[in-house]
Symmetry: C2
Subunit: 243 residues, 2 copies
């Protein structure tokens, strides 16, 4: 895997870490890697945009190293973010499948994020032609659709405060559970939570300070601690209704 060159345009690295491609024989995966355009990105740099005419316009982007974020912006410039994708995943598959304009932008979150861009046509042939890959792609799209459906339900039925509670619960469940508590590291940035539940940074700060005062949340130097996971769960379920 190329790690010490910033210009990777002529270096075909390895796609061995990409989950989607794991069922392929190694030789076939190496052939896919050679068809890719490789590039390293700085943190904050745009990987996929709305611009036309760019060569990567309908490419799928395999995240080989680093981490990327999928974001859109409202007319007022507010950021609405979708799921982050870690190394081993991929983004940009919607336009690569249907050829329609990009539904969102993708930016590098980690410094030195390495992307392998595969053009739309070979990507389509790859995922439709192999039954195992076809099934993986359908499961991937179905998973995204379930997350989107949950978010639509939350936006439709919960107020901003409760959406922040629900996001904290999701973060807590991915964190380290210690008895009744859950430890979230690193401390989530208010703006990131705001972008994920479509509210303002100010609302997130206010909800967190209310939860601190109630003793439900404790801010340590390096972690955010949910002191009673069950109480937070109840706070969310009471409003959502558990249906």
């Amino acid at each position: 895997m190329p790690t010490d060159r910033s210009d990777l345009s002529n270096a075909a690295g390895s796609l061995d870490g990409i989950g989607l491609l794991a069922p392929l024989p190694a030789g076939e995966r190496a052939a896919v890697a050679r068809r890719c355009r490789w590039r390293r990105f700085h943190a904050g740099e745009q990987i996929i945009g709305h611009g036309d005419g760019e060569p990567e316009r309908a490419d799928v982007a395999f995240v080989v190293e680093g981490r990327v974020r999928v974001v859109s912006h409202s007319a007022g410039g507010r950021e609405i973010s979708f799921d982050d994708m870690e190394a081993g995943g991929f983004v940009g598959e919607m336009a690569a499948l249907d050829g329609l304009p990009r539904s969102a932008s993708v930016v590098a979150v980690a410094e030195g994020t390495v992307i392998a861009f595969l053009p739309a046509r070979p990507f389509q042939e790859l995922v439709s032609g192999h039954p195992v890959l076809a099934r993986s792609m359908m499961l991937h799209l179905t998973g995204k659709l379930r997350l989107a459906t949950d978010r639509i339900m939350e936006l439709s039925t919960l107020g901003a405060n409760n959406r922040v509670h629900a996001e904290l619960l999701r973060l807590a469940k991915r964190g380290r559970v210690e008895g009744r508590a859950a430890v979230i590291t690193p401390i989530p940035v208010h703006g990131d939570i705001a972008a994920r539940v479509s509210t303002t940074r100010e609302t997130v700060a206010r909800v967190l300070s209310d939860l601190s005062r109630d003793g439900l949340v404790e801010r340590r130097p390096d972690a955010l601690v949910i002191r009673d996971l069950t109480r937070l769960e109840r706070l969310v379920e009471d409003v959502r209704g558990g249906g």
Copy 2:
């Protein structure tokens, strides 16, 4: 196609009208039809629910005749609806693909809706094993994902009034265009619009009456007329920002 029996459980009808299956040879499509459980539903009857243990729990549902609606309910009982599906389409593919609980219910909208239920396993084999069907399924899921993303952006950035304007614009574009006007038939039910943009019937009624007073919307006995499509478009784009 069975049309005069209400109990279709032993009658294998034809799946020739199902778009997804059109690329299959006729004999193979007939074999799929024989593996289905066939049933006719009354308008308003539930086709897929959240219940466990039902035999159709993870089946995909081909809509052979009629029309169905995908809906969820908030804790307060408010209906949140997703796209309707006409004859020729299918619903329930998410649980059929991933085996997880149903994300929403499906109800028959048209009287005498005929559904062919195909169990999860043969459905998965069908759509992963045929490259053309695999590609259709991916395009289907991508299309749903784009609609969901648009809805998330609308819920995140538009107020309820503007979401009603955006829904009217979508209905108008599917309707009959006459010069600068668009004719929507049948007249949409306030509750249906409300469920699709996650607001109340009262808000829909108020927005429509405001638009009538401004002369932008005219209610005829059998149709709702948008008298100036461009003005409605501008109303939506000014707020959304066109990005």
